[in-house]
Amino acid sequence: MPAASVVLIIAVVAIVAAVVYYLVSTIFALRQITTGLDGAIGAVVEIIEKTVPVNEIVTSINQNLDAGVDLLEGLLVKKAGISDAVGLVEGLYPGAAAEGLRNFPDSREVTAPRIGEVYTRGTLTLARLGREAPIAAASPMGPALRNPPYGSAAARALYPGGRPERPENLPRSPVIGADSPEQYDPNEEVGGPRKRMPVAQEGS
């Protein structure tokens, strides 16, 4: 066999070996990619499954909150009037008056009064009521000041020995008149302490 043919065969074998090596390496890399994509697809499917009810639930929550906003806005405007309502909202959320009440487009043109000057005492009272209300038990500001189920506990603490009952015998109301058994003598009692009437016994 001529030397040139031998070199040709060697060259072809070398080319084929190189092709095989690189292609096999590429196949392994593609398999790793496939495995990784399978994991990614599984996680994405989980995401899709978990987010399926989110749209419906969030829509429901928004509808309920919209109803609540409509209710509270309507009640506030009905009871306080559009001007004070806007002022109260502005007092609670500074800057909210510019947006106005949602169901009352005219409220955007209302000049919000300084509600602190109008509702100072009422707001303070409401704040105290809210602080002492049972719902305040879950307040981050701490437990309620008043314990609603045991509201009389503080009063009972004033009488550790038990609340005193009325005395058994109290002076009865004096009988007045010219024929009363105890006659009032101004000469004796003027300027002095009032004479206590005798205690009337039971059955007398």
């Binding site: 040139a4 040709l8 990784g36 209710l71």
Partner: protein, 88 residues
């Protein structure tokens, strides 16, 4: 004979390097995709784990309904207790 040697030289000096260059490029590209796919998988799994709290929206939904019902009850009572603003 000269043509055979010339062909051998072309195979060894031209064809073989070109084949190796091209195949190495394909292999490097395939290997470069693997880390990216791994990062995508990690991110997707983390995102799926973050959504484990999504069922709590059902509790939120229930609580919102109860809250609005309570507000409606209070509102109804306040509507009876408080006088309307003058001119309303």
């Amino acid at each position: 004979m000269i043509l055979e040697w010339l062909g051998d030289a072309v195979l060894l000096l031209v064809v073989l390097p070109v084949v190796i260059y091209l195949l190495r490029g394909v292999l490097d590209a395939a290997r470069g995709i693997v880390p990216s796919v791994d990062r995508i998988t990690t991110a997707a799994r983390a995102g799926s784990k973050d959504l484990d709290a999504a069922p709590l929206l059902l509790t939120t939904q229930t609580q919102v309904v109860k809250t609005i019902e309570a507000a409606a009850n209070y509102g109804g009572s306040l509507d009876v207790i408080l006088d309307d603003v003058k001119g309303a």
